[in-house]
């Protein structure tokens, strides 16, 4: 089969593009090397929708961040993704640096933010809205349009919506080689993509491969790019610490990024991080003692009394940092019909709706595709029974008793939600897949209680033997076989 567009990578950029392109009568597929969407950079970041004052004026980052922020309310509503504008404070702890706050304001104006969406606060004003700021804080820049979102659910929702509108997704499908088919001069250009699961052919490629985007770009272009995995580590704190700050509190920016932040998450936890460490390994998502110590120490400079004993997990993510420090989005000059979407580091999540829109418009112009009449732009998320009244909840359990059985006690997730996560389009296939969709296992006991129970549901629903149930696909098997008592028995 010849596809019109193949998107490499099912992160938030790839899925935003897939969803936008699903408006047209095009054959589209997404190739993803992992077992699920949202397994790379999108999985581990600050989960912030940035206001757009930070990026250099005139850069792609600035334009798409501001546009993405504007679009987020609508897309979150359409796709049933939790999103809240909690506002951000960039705090200054050095009286000599107070002028830097004005620079942020001025850059915000230059980037197109509304003047009334930003404010410079003195210490007292900042403390009035954020009482736990550190004693050294002398002032703050307040960006009211900054928000918090669930990156998993945004990514998953975009993918599901693209899928119901006809986009194919192929998981566990790692791209190994991309080359142009030999065509007669003037003939149509066709790309051949060799993967671990066979060959795919397509007219257009969108390279949304995160930290691997340079690898694929460099396969087709003589103008090389270089992406450095820039690792950032985080600590996630229990919900009991979630109210420690109500705004996203940033340090004043430095040259390695926006610095360590302290923020509530959309689900009510507290998140601190990231640091920035350039590494070579594109799979190097391990934390180190030094990096965890670094973020804890830096977070404490801006916010006091962070209850670090409430940490429930720590993790690291890789930003896809391109040497030029800007998004590279567009057709590769010496590789027609190969569209880069590379260097998508922060504010990539914030920009994702705009990245989707931008690439759609670009391909619309080139391909002149026909619009679908029956495109569905909305999607319903997994029902959260906590949002129901007592009576509604009982009605739900009467209709479907699975909603009466709690599987994850920390996050109050029912079997009904987990079944929905598995059965819906592009459903969960692993413990982490269930976790990202329902939060089962994401709470304070970190799946100690629910993992055997979720495994049992995956076993039953997917018909998988226990030995094949994984944490996150691949070789991440959770058990290796039966105990002696049971060995030799049939399933």
């Amino acid at each position: 089969m010849l596809y019109d567009v193949i998107i490499v990578g099912a992160g938030v950029s790839g899925c935003a593009i897939a969803r936008e392109l699903s408006r047209y009568r095009l054959n589209i597929c997404v190739l993803e090397k992992e077992e699920d969407v949202c397994c790379g950079t999108t999985k581990a970041n600050s989960a912030i929708v940035h206001a757009g004052f930070d990026a250099a004026t005139g850069s792609m980052m600035a334009k798409l961040n501001v546009r993405g922020n504007e679009m987020m309310d609508q897309i979150a509503a359409d796709l049933d993704v939790p999103f809240r504008r909690n506002g951000a404070l960039v705090v200054c702890t050095d009286p000599d640096e107070l002028g830097g706050l004005q620079e942020l304001y001025d850059r915000g104006i230059a980037n197109g933010l509304r003047a009334d969406s930003m404010e410079i606060l003195n210490r007292e004003e900042a403390l009035a809205i954020e009482p736990n700021l550190a004693d050294d804080v002398v002032g703050a820049f307040y960006a009211k349009t900054s928000g918090i979102i669930c990156p998993f659910l945004l990514n998953i929702a975009m993918a599901e919506n693209a899928n119901v509108n006809g986009v194919d997704f192929f998981f566990n499908t790692e791209v190994e080689k991309i080359e142009a088919e030999n065509t007669a001069p003037g003939g149509e250009r066709i790309w051949k993509i060799r993967t671990c699961n066979g060959e795919y052919r397509t007219r257009y490629i969108v390279n949304a491969a995160g930290v691997y985007a340079d690898v694929f770009h460099n396969m087709v272009s003589s103008r090389k790019i270089h992406i450095t995995p820039r690792r950032g580590s985080y600590c996630l704190l229990d919900r009991t610490a979630g109210n420690h700050v109500s705004h996203t509190v940033f340090a004043q920016p430095g040259k390695m990024g926006k610095g360590v932040l302290v923020t509530p998450t959309i689900h009510g936890n507290l998140l601190i991080g990231p640091n920035a460490q350039d590494i070579e390994n594109k799979e190097g998502t391990n934390t180190t003692a030094d990096s965890l110590n670094e973020i804890i120490e830096k977070a404490a400079r801006n916010v006091k009394n962070i209850p670090m004993r409430q940490v429930i997990t720590s993790f690291a993510g890789l930003r896809a940092h391109e040497n030029g420090h800007d998004f590279i989005i567009g057709e590769v000059e010496d590789a027609p019909h190969f569209i880069d979407c590379a260097g998508i580091e922060s504010p990539g999540l914030s920009s994702s709706p705009a990245i989707g829109e931008y690439v759609r418009k670009l391909l619309e112009e080139k391909m002149k595709p026909e619009r679908k009449e029956n495109w569905v732009g909305t999607r319903r998320g997994i029902l959260n029974p906590d949002s129901l009244s007592f009576e509604e909840r009982n009605e739900l359990i009467r209709k479907n008793p699975a909603y009466g059985r709690i599987i994850c006690r920390c996050e109050s997730v029912t079997e009904g939600e987990i079944l929905d996560a598995i059965r819906r389009p592009l459903g969960a296939r692993s413990l982490d897949g269930v976790k990202r969709r329902t939060r089962a296992g994401m709470g304070r006991c970190q799946a100690g209680f629910c993992s055997p129970r979720t495994m049992e549901i995956l076993h039953r629903e997917l018909g998988l033997p226990y030995e094949k149930i994984t944490k996150s696909g691949g070789d991440s098997r959770l058990v290796i076989g039966r105990t002696k008592e049971h060995s030799g028995e049939e399933e």
Partner: protein, 462 residues
């Protein structure tokens, strides 16, 4: 079910493990009829059901039982007494006025008005994240209790080559269990300079199988993107920080954590019960009553125990007290004077109870506590205000061993102006106290981060 057709029970017990069962039986024996146990699992017995090793019940039944056998002794009494219980039922909320909201598949969500509530939810294991262990986050990292469930209840093996962090009793028990199932347990690393487990378990679960126990060691790296491939441990210094150059790498596919237990008190906190930051359980008085009259707590939700026998004993007391409370018309018992406060200091981390109303106490009252370090040939001293009234020499005391003293009611009544009873550890010059640091503060903060002391407390209840 509408609010206006709310069920009502004299006593609602949250949790059908050893604490909940003993509380229910005692309450019934004290004459209260309308008792309901709410249990979230599919059978009564709680964590005992997965503790298939023996060693339970020596105090209570004077014989050595397995966990399920110990639980069954209580479950049978519950059946015989016709005490009501609901299984697969999760309590979602307890309000300050004792309305319990619960949910299951067949009844949906329902509310129960309770005369008294007994909190018996048990505890949970400290996860990897709470320790901030660096490295990758692959499959194959389990808390020891989760692995115990997989092996003993579900019948599956988590892995073949195992490293264990933490020498709490569940970790030790699982070292033996995994070995008997054909796995190789390569090492048990313990952050503290002493094991958190019972000496007996170290001998029977580690020494007998030639499994090395490395004290003052912790995990500094976990390798493996998909599944655990190797774990690196290192020696820690007095500051509990890893010492560079002491790293040892073990190839393995599994890392088990036995690093501490945390009372499961989200429901308690939700209804306004005051918490002790040391135990992570409620403050209770001499009858196991929290600051909310008619709300009682017992078992590992109150403080993590070594011995299930003590859980049963304390729970029995809570059950009797709850029965008295509802029989007296759910009013606060008369309190002739302000309660006496118990203060834990000088090496004593906490006491249960933390207050005593002398008019309500039994003739003899057991006060349980834990110490914050290993003490040899030291004294447990009890002060009535400034006067030392007990000074008892102990051969050895360790964080993993719950200690106790007995107070006599008549002695307390002799002191009508008594405000504070202080329990502390006193060492004479010759005493040989092994502590990880001479600075008491460092020890307690180390305990806090490692949870080793809590972890030790698991012993036979799990």
């Amino acid at each position: 079910m509408e609010t206006n057709e709310m069920m009502s029970y004299d006593i609602v017990i949250v949790g059908g493990g050893p604490a909940g069962l003993a509380a229910a039986i005692a309450a019934r024996k004290s004459g209260t009829e309308r008792i309901l146990i709410l249990e979230r699992d599919k059978e009564l017995g709680g964590i005992l059901n997965q503790c298939i090793h023996n060693g339970f019940g020596l105090h209570t039944f004077k014989e050595e039982l397995t966990g399920p056998e110990y639980a069954d002794r209580f479950i049978q009494q519950v059946y015989e007494m016709g005490i009501e219980y609901r299984l697969d039922t999760m309590v979602m909320d307890i309000s300050a006025d004792k309305v319990v909201t619960a949910m299951n598949r067949s009844d949906g969500m329902f509310r129960i008005r309770a005369g008294a509530v007994i909190l018996a939810m048990g505890c949970r294991e400290r996860p990897r994240g709470a320790l901030n262990i660096p490295g990758y986050r692959p499959a194959g990292i389990y808390s020891a209790g989760t692995a115990q469930r997989l092996v003993n209840i579900e019948g599956y093996m988590p892995g073949r080559e195992v490293v264990i962090l933490g020498s709490g009793d569940i970790g030790l028990i699982m070292a033996r269990r995994m070995t008997l199932e054909g796995a190789t347990v390569k090492v048990v690393a313990e952050l503290m300079p002493y094991s958190g487990g019972l000496k007996r378990n170290i001998v029977q679960c580690l020494d007998d199988f030639d499994i090395p126990l490395k004290l003052s060691h912790t995990v500094v790296d976990i390798e493996g993107k998909d599944r655990v491939k190797a774990v690196t441990i290192a020696r820690v210094g007095k500051d509990m920080k890893p010492i560079p150059g002491t790293e040892e790498r073990y190839t393995c596919d599994t890392l088990l954590l036995s690093t501490g237990l945390i009372p499961e008190n989200e429901l308690s906190a939700g209804c306004g019960v005051e918490m002790n930051p040391v135990t992570k359980g409620p403050f209770v008085n001499e009858i196991m009553e929290t600051n909310i009259p008619g709300v009682f707590a017992c078992g590992n939700v109150l403080h993590v125990h070594d011995l299930v026998d003590y859980v049963s004993e304390e729970a029995g007391k809570a059950g009797e007290a709850a029965a008295r409370y509802v029989q007296s018309g759910c009013t606060e018992a008369s309190r002739e004077r302000a309660p006496i406060r118990l203060t834990a200091t000088g090496g004593v981390r906490y006491t249960v109870p933390s207050t005593i109303h002398t008019d309500r106490m039994d003739d003899l009252l057991t006060v349980r506590f834990r110490v914050g370090a290993v003490y040899r040939q030291a004294y447990v001293s009890v002060y009535f205000d400034d006067e030392r009234v007990q000074h008892q020499k102990k051969k050895i005391m360790a964080p993993g061993e719950m200690e106790q003293i007995i107070l006599q009611k008549k002695k307390l009544l002799e002191k009508p102006d008594l405000h504070t009873i202080t329990i502390k550890i006193e060492e004479d010059d010759a005493s040989d106290a092994i502590k990880s640091s001479s600075d008491g503060k460092a020890i307690s903060s180390a305990n806090e981060t490692s949870g080793a002391a809590d972890g030790a407390a698991h012993r036979q209840t799990m």
